[in-house]
């Protein structure tokens, strides 16, 4: 059922992509922060991948020490502002809030976090400065959350830092890949600028590292290199008809949407293939872009989906229909997508079987593949002795984030295969500690 009209202006786009976690006002923050129990050894801290001292910053908000709150947050997480709104808080800090055990709504930690950091960013409050130069230089490949976090931490240690970014904007998936109702481009970019202004690291845009020569150059110019390249394009499914006009990858679809907003034309009928959080985002976004019918198709059951339940619920509430236990066989159409031929599936003895006696077609004008992204294997091949695991993820030492090639460190989606912004922020920070330990303190 379509809930949204096709947005034809930036105004209408904003209306359809209303912020899910809007900025709190002072009164909301005052009352919400007053509810925190200040638990001992608080479960919310343990549930935060970056271990932010949440009860402390909430108490600081309540006592009107917003700058202090902001410092507490950024001390643990350089992307504290973005994480406040894009983190799946329901399964992290807020999911761990003890109020849940009492059927009392948990503290809105994410929004409080965003409230505090937003104040500092808006007032351009300087909280950090670069450390005294230590004479060492580090190159970072990729200006995503892992790279930015790594750069900030390295600057505090006194390293000279250059980030090489293939695209023309920083922040990686935070700006290119997150659903627009979670965070706006402006907010993401403001945070990066805020950090850059205080800590002074350079980001070289449109500078993809894609040849052996460029790698050699980095290696000779820098003492260490951090790989924060995330994932690549949507992986190929190998389906018949996949090359037809109107078949797009979810990552590419979302990126276009984030950059062009209402100028993106989503046709009337859309099929989204996949069961992860990106599939939910793509489906939800297609519905919000005015598709009359958006169908989410997943090969296993609803319970088996990788997506968080709240992400699925959000898609459903945007008017998305879902099909479970179906697998695509072929994308049909004459040069242009006209539909997807599916077969029903079932699990027999723990194995997923396709039932070829139960085949049907869903008519559509667009197919969004949200079945995972390819790894940046082409880059990894250029680096000597860089060990990867069986899923093409860079292998690292879990404590130092050091790769098998001692010049290189890595973090983010490149090592975990695709997780949250907060995980990347943590990795980047910890890798900086690894670099410090290796180059300075050992």
């Amino acid at each position: 059922m379509a809930e949204y009209k096709r947005p034809t202006s930036e105004e209408e786009f904003k209306k359809n992509f209303k912020q899910k976690n809007p900025l709190m006002n002072d009164t909301q923050a005052y009352y919400e922060s007053s509810r925190c129990l200040f638990c001992y050894d608080a479960p919310c801290i343990k549930a935060c991948p970056t271990g932010i001292d949440i009860p402390l910053f909430i108490k600081q908000i309540h006592t009107d020490n917003i700058t202090g709150a902001s410092k507490t947050i950024f001390d643990s997480n350089w992307l504290g502002n973005a994480c406040g709104v894009v983190c799946p808080t329901g399964v992290l800090c807020e999911g761990a809030c003890v109020y849940n055990h009492q059927d009392v709504p948990p503290i809105q930690i994410g929004r409080l976090q965003n409230y505090a950091t937003n104040k500092s960013i808006e007032s351009n409050k300087k909280l950090f400065k670069a450390g005294e130069a230590n004479g060492k230089k580090v190159a970072i490949i990729g200006a995503g959350p892992a790279g930015i976090a790594c750069a900030c931490e390295l600057r505090v240690f006194g390293f000279e830092v250059d980030i090489y970014e293939a695209k023309e904007k920083p922040s990686g998936l935070t700006v290119h890949g997150i659903a627009p109702y979670k965070i706006t481009n402006e907010e993401v970019l403001k945070e990066v600028k805020y950090l850059q202004d205080q800590l002074g690291f350079e980001i070289k845009y449109n500078s993809s590292i894609d040849t052996k020569e460029k790698i050699k150059e980095l290696e000779s110019n820098y003492n260490a290199i951090f790989i924060g390249v995330g994932l690549g394009k949507t992986a190929t499914l190998g389906l018949e008809g996949e090359e037809k006009n109107g078949v797009v990858g979810a990552v590419e679809f979302i990126e276009e949407l984030r950059m062009k907003h209402h100028l993106v034309k989503v046709p009337k009928r859309v099929v989204v293939i996949g069961g992860g959080n990106t599939a939910m985002d793509a489906a939800s976004e297609s519905a919000r872009m005015g598709a009359r019918k958006t169908v989410l198709a997943y090969r296993r059951s609803k319970e088996d989906m990788g997506a968080y339940k709240f992400e699925y619920d959000l898609a459903i509430s945007a008017g998305v229909d879902s099909l479970f236990n179906v697998t695509p066989l072929e994308i049909i159409g004459n040069g242009k997508v006209e539909g997807v031929k599916f077969a029903k599936t079932q699990v027999v003895d723990g194995e997923l079987k396709t039932d070829m006696n139960n085949v049907f077609t869903v008519k559509c004008d667009m197919v969004i593949k949200a079945t995972g992204q390819a790894k940046q294997g082409h880059l990894y091949e250029l680096i000597d002795d860089l060990q990867l695991d069986s899923k093409t993820r860079i292998k690292i030492d879990e404590e130092t984030f050091h790769t098998s090639n001692l010049k290189y460190f890595a973090g983010g989606d490149a090592i975990n295969g695709g997780a949250e912004v907060v995980n990347a922020a943590y990795d980047g920070k910890m890798a900086a500690h690894g670099i410090y330990k290796w180059l300075i303190n050992d």
Partner: protein
């Protein structure tokens, strides 16, 4: 049939809910509005010598999400012309002949007292309240608490007033004194018909962190104010008790003042011997309508306990308020945690470990946050039950069988005063005390 009416030292009122002499009783308009809302009596804002007031008059103490938990003011007695007040007293009495209108008075010389008493009697006031409590401004001119703090002076003025007046006299006491029974006794010896207390407590509610001046700030400076509101209730109750237990003073009725806001406060004041209550801060916070909750709650309580008038339970708690030396040393309670209700905030653990007797343990399993009581260390102090945010989760359970009863007083009489530290509840004897260096391991 419940009858809330009272006869308070000769002043009749349809119920015990009176407005204290304060800003809410500044005019006939306010008092008529209050009577319409359900208040039984009102003590007019103090009439007396001409004054001038300052702008910026009130300050407050907020606690967590609660505003005005404590409140102070630097406002003086009425600044409205005496004739206006007298005319309005007359008018109020015309509309509400059965309600209690009491004139609070504060003047200096005997002649002034005699004149103003005549004036308010002519206006139709049902009684007089002597303001011997105001701790700011007026005391600097030798009135208010300057009188309340000098029992001999107080007694003399009460004598003058009693000689001059034909209507009942209430003496209002200041709490800014070491022993409330001193002015209380002086008032009774001077012939007062009744006593009201407490007036406000000398206070500084806060310091402005930019101007370094106390709140409320008057052009860069401030002065002590009179503190009131929910925060002062415990002090008021203790003073009421002191008077109500005094053999001489208890012969006159007591009007209880200080932080009364709910029906519970009213019942507690009555149980300690008050037979009228006066309210100010609650009205300044919520308006006259707050009396609805007080009256409904008081009626409900009386119905459940089967009382028909407030005199049926006035002072009922007094026999149980005793001195420490009469408490049963053999009584033993320990804390019990309801594991079903516990939400794992572990505030009880840290409160006990850091703030009390190290009698609560956390489970070794880090995923389990339900603490347990170390019964041999529990002295039954209540702290855990007080900090627990869940209703009825931690309860104090009696462990002695009630058969033994020994008090300090009895031990003193039996020449059984300890000469060594042998209390079996004491740390190091009755229960273990961790070694100082154990602190460093945590």
């Amino acid at each position: 049939m419940i009858d809330l009416s009272i006869n308070f030292g000769g002043i009749k009122s349809p119920n015990p809910f009176w407005l204290a002499s304060a800003p809410p009783t500044n005019s006939g308009y306010q008092i008529m509005k209050a009577f319409e809302a359900g208040w039984g009596g009102a003590v007019w804002k103090t009439l007396g010598v001409p004054v001038v007031n300052v702008s910026s008059r009130y300050g407050s103490v907020n606690y967590r999400d609660t505003r005005m938990m404590g409140f102070n003011n630097i406002e003086l007695i009425t600044d409205r012309p005496l004739e206006d007040n007298l005319r309005e007293i007359e008018e109020v009495k015309k509309y509400f002949p059965d309600h209690a209108v009491i004139a609070s008075l504060m003047v200096e010389s005997r002649a002034e007292w005699e004149q103003i008493i005549k004036d308010v009697e002519n206006a139709g006031a049902d009684g007089i309240e002597l303001n011997f409590g105001c701790p700011h401004g007026m005391c600097e001119r030798g009135m208010g608490s300057a009188v309340g703090q000098e029992p001999e002076v107080l007694k003399t003025i009460v004598e003058w007033v009693k000689e001059a007046s034909n209507i009942p006299v209430i003496t209002k006491l200041s709490p800014n004194i070491s022993h409330i029974t001193d002015p209380g006794l002086a008032a009774v010896q001077g012939g007062t018909d009744s006593i009201s207390l407490i007036n406000t407590i000398k206070s500084i509610v806060g310091i402005d962190l930019d101007s370094y001046a106390p709140l409320p700030v008057v052009d860069g400076k401030g002065t002590n104010g009179g503190y009131c509101g929910p925060a002062v209730k415990p002090i008021a109750m203790h003073m009421i008790k002191d008077l109500a237990q005094h053999p001489e003073i208890s012969k006159v009725p007591i009007s209880g003042i200080g932080g009364v806001e709910t029906w519970r406060d009213v019942v507690e004041f009555i149980l300690l011997g008050a037979t009228s209550v006066q309210v100010c801060t609650a009205v300044m916070h919520y308006g006259f309508g707050i009396v609805r909750e007080m009256e409904a709650g008081l009626r409900q309580f009386m119905e459940e306990k089967n009382y028909s008038t407030i005199y049926d339970f006035a002072g009922k708690a007094l026999p149980n308020v005793t001195e420490w030396k009469h408490l049963n040393l053999k009584h033993k309670v320990v804390a019990e945690i309801n594991k079903e209700k516990c939400i794992g905030c572990d505030l009880c653990y840290i409160a006990c470990d850091d703030g009390a007797h190290q009698a609560i343990a956390l489970p070794i399993d880090l995923n389990n946050r339900i603490p347990s009581i170390i019964e041999e260390n529990c002295v039954g102090c209540n702290l855990c039950a007080l900090v627990c945010p869940v209703e009825d989760c931690i309860t104090m359970v009696q462990r002695d069988d009630g058969s033994e009863h020994v008090t300090w007083n009895e031990r003193t009489l039996n020449d059984d005063i300890p000469v060594t530290f042998n209390d079996d509840r004491a740390g190091g004897k009755g229960h273990f005390v961790p070694a100082p260096t154990d602190a460093l391991k945590k």
